[in-house]
Symmetry: C2
Subunit: 293 residues, 2 copies
């Protein structure tokens, strides 16, 4: 029986985390849930976010038999990780702590910049996680970056101009606070698609930390059951869709097939249309589920 890893986001940005997980745990079975009926979590209160996130986590554990959960959503990680950990009997990993750990490993000056959505910045979850690791963090909300990614303008002159403005404002603020940042943390699951642009536009020598990558690395480390995940035996229920990357022309020549089941709580059209950009391979059909609300 292959281990099922449940991956949860309020939308489909968390597919960047799933993508990084697949690269490191290619033999696991993945169940991804996007709570699209109730996104974005960013504008909602802690209590509401916790209620939604717990319902989503319970679906993955109880209905999909996930034995391990990755909260691939910065807002839910920032505001509801404790509530989820209390609600389900399996290990739960968020994206913020691994991102801060990677920043700690990368930074020489001890000063880091964090870009994220408005809600994540207001929670100051990254600042707190960084402070616990003796890092000084300067956080900045970049609310235009998610819609620019969703518009598909990941290498567009407008996006370049917007990123320049945000990074200039960050640099001025860091300077005003007497910080000497050498590391930039991508605190939103949409931002990995902007990584090439961000790496080019950031101050020379800046190390860019992708929380999605950091989280996948942390998840792989937490897994002791690597034998199962590397098991080449035929797996599980034959009715489950098996994606063979070779059949779709994606550049994953050495990757074995991975089982991915995707679920959403409402309109799956945008998820199916944009999801492949985030996952780096087709997401296939997305099943609609009802969590109430």
């Amino acid at each position: 029986m292959t281990t099922t890893i449940g991956v949860f986001d309020s939308g489909f940005g968390g597919l960047t985390v799933l993508r990084a997980l697949i690269q490191r745990l290619p033999r696991a079975r993945f169940a991804f849930l996007g709570d699209t009926a109730r996104l974005p979590y960013g504008s909602k209160s802690r209590r509401t976010i916790a209620r939604y996130a717990v319902q989503s986590a319970q679906f993955l554990v109880q209905e999909q038999q996930a034995e391990f959960l990755v909260i691939a959503c910065n807002t839910a990680s920032a505001l509801a990780l404790d509530a989820i950990q209390q609600a389900v009997p399996v290990p739960v990993l968020g994206v913020i702590e691994p991102g801060a750990q990677s920043a700690r490993a990368a930074s020489r000056t001890g000063d880091v910049l964090v870009i994220a959505t408005d809600a994540t910045v207001h929670s100051h979850a990254y600042a707190a996680a960084c402070q616990a690791l003796k890092l000084r963090a300067l956080e900045k909300a970049c609310p235009l970056l998610v819609p620019l990614v969703e518009e598909g303008w990941t290498a567009h002159p407008v996006t370049e101009q917007v990123i320049r403005i945000y990074l200039d404002e960050l640099a001025a603020e860091a300077n005003a606070q007497g910080l000497d940042p050498d590391t930039l943390v991508l605190g939103c699951t949409h931002y990995p698609l902007l990584r090439p642009l961000l790496e080019r536009l950031a101050t020379a020598g800046t190390r860019v930390i992708d929380s999605a990558e950091s989280t996948a690395e942390a998840a792989a480390r937490l897994f002791n059951d690597k034998t199962t995940l590397a098991d080449p035996q035929p797996r599980g229920d034959p009715s489950t869709r098996t994606l063979s990357p070779h059949a779709h022309g994606w550049d994953t020549s050495s990757a074995p097939p991975t089982e991915i089941r995707c679920f959403a709580t409402d309109s799956v059209e945008k998820f199916e249309r944009l999801g492949s950009r985030f996952l780096g391979r087709p997401v296939g059909p997305v099943a609609l589920i009802d969590l109430g609300g």
Copy 2:
């Protein structure tokens, strides 16, 4: 007893409609509800949107004694107007029909352009309303404009560049379809804040139609009880907050005080912070209510 007009949006963009209503019906009492816990409606299904919108409409009629409802939300107007009209015993006006009527009055060629959010465009509600009036409409989703307005970049070079791109794409598509558009309909309640930029960047001679203005005009026409709304007598419950525009330094020198009560279903911070830009005067404190979900 002054008439209460209920105004409903999924967020706070509908405050542009409220602003236009206040200018025309300064003696009415207004109750505005932003269903912020469940926004944006745009990515949700018709059934879900109808359920949310009906709950919101019932709050305004049953709890706030609204005798007239304005659905200041393009998505809810497009997908749930019938459901709302069936659920409440008061007249209900949406934003789409008035916008199409104004376009009909403005256009000489009979060809109009509509810019709106992704959800509104996908519903083709404007195209249908225009077609019923013998107009040919070309609709385009402009998903970056709402976040640009919310970032406060209403006169920013980036916003100008984005609008140029959208309008150029629209012009090319209109040309390809053999259309000769002379009218541009703003099919989103955030867009009135971009009107100066849109008027400057649109093809010379284009008439810009603001659905918020059109809807307020239609609402004023539908009101036969104008005597009550112009009544200068002291009004209603003294515990209700009365906004005197003179006290806030807003340029409304001839406007009498208007009673506005604002409600939201979740986090009111963004509403209070950005609402005044849309309303053109302070929104004051926003009361948090629970509609479930």
